[in-house]
Amino acid sequence: MSIKIKELTESRNTVNKWMERYGVRFGVYKNGVFNEQLFPFDPVPRIIWKDDWDYLEQGLRQRVKALNRFLWDIYHDKEIITDGIVPEEFVYSSKGYLPECEQISPTGGVYAHIAGIDLVEGKDGQWYVLEDNLRIPSGASYPMIAREITRRVSPSTFTTHAVAENRDYADLLRDMMDEMNDNRGISVILTPGRYNSAYFEHSYLAEKTGATLVYPGELFVEDNIVYYTGINKERTRVGCIYRRVSDEYMDPMIFEASSLLGIPNVMQAYKAGNVALVNAPGNGVADDKGIYYFVPKMVEYYLDEKPILQNAPTYLPYFKEDYDFVLKNIRRLVVKDVSEAGGYGVVFGKDLQEDELEKLKSLIIEQPRRWIAQEVIDFKDLEILEGNEFVERKADLRAFVISGKETKVWRSGLTRFSRNPDSFVVNSSQGGGFKDTWVVKN
């Protein structure tokens, strides 16, 4: 069965006009200057057939459930460490592990309320998870608004094909926030401000969920309760904060003291169960590059199930067997620095000169724990429309999983592509664009 998108690609200019009208932008800092640009949209959707999607959905749900169980365990009994599945140094030396979150029990045991799981489809048709984003993953608003616009511009396309609705993302989010909001206060989205690269998304999600968009300095804690105040000094209790501010800036009383983005003493209110924080602080320990290796093992350990989704084949030089393998095969692998502050980043063995390769090897020998190595996946290219021509480019998929009382997978996702034909990097800040993701009935 084929998908007819001619009308859609032909109305590309109209679609772009609408994108401009709605201000679908993201911010970029270049040499310290803030600039907003339109997020380039490619009208050719990524198609995922319903059958394939069902498999992905099951796998994603399973993975996120396990990750939430892991986070609970790490901040409580640490059985997975005691049982020798994950070595303690991988947990405690992770920058994302926050001792301040020890023994805190968020509602329903949910830590990663919004998980953005980055996947790629290999040429063999196999999906691989590249990264779990459990802190403040962004991007869902783009396919949402793209759908709003493309349905309007080309209604017949959506009459012809049974594309699963994706504008219900706001409902998923709202329901989840309501479920987390034990105290029936108001729900808010906390944005660092208009000069954050994802500000469009913060304000759009606030509009669509009905949550109040709040800025740093507008929330405060008194008697261990979080309040929002108005112009006439009236105040109202806050029950749930979907915060788009990173952990280290959330509470200047215990994290980064100079932070003006946070809410003093909010961690105490959170600890007392007086406010829900979405996502929970401390999640960075579970989406750490080093911990990634252990996620399939978590699925087996916590759920007693076989992992449905695969990781990209990954080696940890920390283990002797992998150490030997990595040193021997480094040329064909991609090596990632786990200690984020280190700044070595991501290196493809094949791109390195002989002396650079030797240097990398010596670094691995010196600190095996600091590195992971992966097979380079030959992933499937997607068609994009460039000028009047269809060309193939690398693309990934960020799937969104929302966990409240239940774990639900959003039937769409952000497909990002690289505009540079030689690049594997699909980052939007590096000139990439996005596509809508269609889940279509066969």
């Binding site: 401009e20 709605y22 201000g23 808010v188 304000s203 949550a211 968009l213 108005g230 112009i231």
Partner: protein, 232 residues
């Protein structure tokens, strides 16, 4: 979801200034169009009074410089593009209050103004959509702003700006009194934001019909009081 009806000080400020700047766009376009009409075939003395009120800093020498500058000069805070950008800067912080549909009219206006600037478009008539969208914006805001207090604050800004502009352009007393009446309709809805002392002084001034003081003095006094009337 429990919805908050509270308006933070921050948002009130944005709403008020959005109202002011959007009204400034509209009135500046109106005055500029009057001026441009007279420049087609009129004498300098016919259009100089409006020119001077629009170009208070005396930035421009020729008719052409004046027209283009008043439309697009971003370094001139009185230009249409400047006012529209300022309106946008406030509106962008209010998406969830005014809704994307409403915000869209301002996005389109900014984009059109920039496009015209880049093409050095001199024909004033090309900016007609900015006028249309401004009115559409107000209509949409009234329809979609579910929080009435937010709407009142924005209308306060709009009416303060309207009165301010009428004073600057020397409208007659009757028009000024009507505009003041209209402003008070909204201010009465938000008593907490009103400086009552200033209000009573303004009431007196309006009632006195400028019989006692010279026009310039009267005007400046009104303008200064007007800008202190609200606590925003």
């Amino acid at each position: 979801m429990v919805k908050s009806t509270i308006i933070s000080a921050h948002k009130a400020n944005n709403l008020f200034w959005l109202g002011r700047y959007e009204e400034r766009v509209y009135i500046t376009l109106h005055q500029l169009s009057k001026c441009c009409d007279k420049m087609i075939d009129g004498e300098t003395k016919d259009y100089l009074p409006i020119w001077q009120k629009l170009d208070t800093q005396g930035n421009y020498q020729t008719n052409d410089e004046f027209t283009v500058g008043m439309m697009y000069d971003e370094t001139n805070p009185a230009s249409i593009l400047s006012a529209q950008t300022k309106a946008m800067d406030n509106a962008i912080l209010l998406r969830e209050e005014i809704m994307s549909e409403t915000l869209g009219y301002l996005e389109m206006s900014v984009a059109l103004l920039k496009e015209c600037r880049n093409k050095s478009e001199r024909n004033f008539c090309r900016l007609q959509p900015v006028i249309d969208w401004s009115l559409a914006f107000w209509g949409a805001a009234e329809q979609r702003l579910h929080n009435h207090e937010a709407l009142y604050i924005m209308m306060m800004g709009r009416n303060v700006e309207n009165l301010d502009m009428l004073l600057r352009f020397d409208y007659n007393h009757e028009r000024i009194a009507l505009a003041y009446d209209s402003l008070k309709r909204y201010i009465r809805q938000m008593p907490g934001l009103l400086n009552e002392d200033i209000e009573s002084q303004l009431d007196d001034l309006i009632a006195s019909k400028s019989t006692k003081i010279s026009d310039t003095e009267y005007k400046n006094c009104m303008l200064s009081l007007l800008n202190q009337l609200t606590k925003i």
